[in-house]
Amino acid sequence: MPLTGLQIFKLLPNTNCKKCGYPTCLTFAMKLAAGKETLEKCPDATPEAKAALGAASAPPIRGVTIGRGERAITVGEETVFFRHEKTFVRHPGLFQIFDPTGLTPAERDAKLDHWRGIHIERAGETFRVDGIAIVETAESVAAVAAAERGFPVAILAATLPGATAVAERIKDHRPLLVPPAGANLEGYCALAARLGIPLVVGAPDLASLADAARDAARAGVADILLEPPGADPRSLHHSLSAIRRGALDRIHPGLGHPVFLRVGAGEIERAVLGITKFASLVALADCGGEAWLPLWTLRQNIYTDPQKPLQMDPGLYAIGEPNDRSPLLVTSNFSLTYFIVSTEAEASGTACHLAVVDAEGLSVLTAWSAGKFSGDRVAKALRQMKAADRVSHHTVIIPGYVPVISGELEDALGDGWHVLVGPQEASDIAPFFRDVWGPLARDFETHP
């Protein structure tokens, strides 16, 4: 049970000396309670305080890193069952399962290069293939090729000798060792412990799984992922939920590890279950972008910190295919605002330009009262985006909730720019285009 701000405050010296960087001991105590600070910052903390706070702080689910370098991925260190309790912390890695059997070296390299080249931007995040899970074959060149391209590699072992050969070749790239289902784990534990690489531990039921993980740890494996039993959705859901709850409640030390999940071709729903229900690494059999895109997006959604709104990159976005006579709307870069406005704008059937202004991820009204959506700021953003070059009509439509910035915005833009106050609700964009913009646009045609 974590300590409350007031409980922690009573353990502190109450001198308000400010050495921790906070104005009062109470402020510092509240930050400690929220997990946003560490006790080390207080030079005068008593041994009692250190003891009381230390016990509560070791994470219930260990962190594990796979791979090295820029693409290394760390998973685990989760602290809650429901994302709204605080947030989920480390989004799961989505690995591509790759069976190089029967491929020529050129074909194999082409595939790896293709996967490495994939990147899709969405709401400030770059989606890419996080790693390659290689089906172990007689030779280990594919694994080496993947590792050399910087990919974190998971070795989907078929046999212990085979896995050993591959693992030894790429051990410096910190690969994940995945024994085959039902295998005797002893040899794999020894291998993982010797090479210092992470290991997946699987078992047919939860009790055996927990014990197996504990045994692996005792055998010297420092980093473990659990593979949950359950082929059908109901069993899998049960395992995933039980493991997370068991780890958080500290029922058994063997449960306090991140979770690994294998998903076959076309099993989108299984991947959805994994992403929503706490899997830390999901290895997917070959599927195209039509499956990856929804899964990356789902991961982005679920793993967003509920307290930190997603922000769009500021800039001029095209809705449909706008030209220089299309309307120009401006809005804030809170991603939900952007999505709602852009969806309604698209649904209106009228192509337009949408200028997204950096308002630090705040919605329009909130941004305005914090001074982050003022006429000056919007004008500056429009200038940076060179909006004047994109529209011949020099008219900008502002959200209906902030008509007050219109004068200041016009002044700041100068150059004969007009400001039009748009609707308050995004759902009124279509009627607005029809009833207000339409007639005006016709006027511009006849009186440029």
Partner: protein
């Protein structure tokens, strides 16, 4: 070392709400006493019900890959209803009266009521009836539908905090179920139910629509609000334990990612598959968060979700003597140890 995973027991449970009455074959939802799909520690007398959306007029904005399975019956509610039930296996239908909107046909309340009656005659599944959107017209349309179809246990979509009195009155007067809609906020959802209860709506005849954000467009907001609603319900809050309905089809198919062709975005893969995955992912995620009624558009997406749910609830659907549809699911006994095969 044995694994002592104690099942979680809760003080409260979801209300059981029965949709459809009169000439309908009723479908009940809700009644569970645990977190969604946590069959290992709780009992769920009913499985989530899957509905398909049909429209009164041709839905011109539906992307081609969604129109295609409905070819020939778009904008013909009775025919679409038959196909939805007989060919696509929908448990329920949502009749979306888009044509009554001033900008999309401005159909009258009388015409709307005639459309709903035609559907009632065509199939025997319960109906959810959705109006043109908040405002005077919606009240007039739904009131007329409610009156002309009295006693059929329609679910009227929807009442809000700002405008609930008309629909509350007609739902009570004509024996229908009321859907309360709130803007992705637990408190507002609760407030609406309190206001409804204050005006004598029986909350055992009410559903909560917390507003669905589609995948990529606010899904996580709906997800967390629904988890919080379920937790409050299980904690004993009698104003938040109505079953939740999610309009998945309408929201997910708005997304650019569900509609844009691979010609424009080659990395995005086939639009047809992608769109269905988009709808399936949204539906599955929200069922995990507690959706008890899911309204979809693409019949293939519905089929896939049904298959997932069969894993929990079995695939037989038998009727008991009262005509209430029950799944064959019975919760397994759980003890202190755990086994999962």
């Amino acid at each position: 070392m044995s694994l002592d995973l104690k099942p979680k027991k809760w003080a409260g449970a979801l209300r059981e709400v029965t949709l459809g009455a009169g000439t309908r074959r009723p479908v009940s939802v809700g009644g569970g006493n645990g977190l969604p799909l946590h069959a290992f520690e709780a009992a769920f007398p009913y499985r989530p019900a899957l509905a398909l959306e049909i429209t009164d007029v041709d839905p011109v904005r539906w992307v081609e890959s969604v129109r295609q399975p409905w070819e020939g019956v778009l904008g013909q509610p009775a025919e679409a209803a038959r196909r939805a039930v007989t060919d696509f296996g929908a448990d329920l239908l949502l009749v979306h009266l888009t044509g009554t909107h001033a900008d999309r046909g401005n159909r009258s309340p009388e015409q709307a009521a005639a459309d709903v009656r035609a559907v009632l005659e065509a199939v025997d599944v319960p109906l959810i009836v959705k109006g043109p959107g908040a405002g005077q017209k919606q009240n007039a349309v739904l009131a007329r539908v409610a009156e002309d179809c009295r006693g059929e246990g329609l679910a009227l979509h929807s009442a809000t905090n700002e405008d609930y009195k008309t629909l509350a009155a007609v739902a009570v007067a004509y024996g229908h179920v009321l859907v309360g809609e709130s803007p992705i906020d637990v408190n507002i959802a609760k407030q609406l139910n309190i206001l409804l209860a204050d005006t004598n709506v029986d909350l055992n005849r009410a559903l909560i629509d917390p507003l669905t954000g589609g995948l990529g467009y606010g899904l996580e907001y709906s997800y967390s609000v629904m988890e919080r609603i379920r937790l409050a319900a299980l904690g004993g809050d009698a104003m938040l334990n109505c079953p939740v309905v999610c309009l998945v089809g309408e929201e997910t198919w708005k997304a650019k990612e569900a509609r844009v062709s691979a010609d424009k975005e080659p990395l995005w893969g086939s639009q047809r598959e992608r769109g269905i995955h988009w709808e399936v992912s949204t539906a599955m995620t929200l069922i995990e968060a507690g959706a008890e009624v899911v309204v979809m558009r693409h019949p293939e997406a519905l089929k896939r979700i049904r298959k997932q749910l069969d894993s929990w609830f079995g695939s037989d659907r038998s009727h008991d003597r009262e005509g209430v549809v029950r799944s064959s699911f019975r919760p397994t006994e759980t003890s202190g140890g755990d086994s999962c095969r």
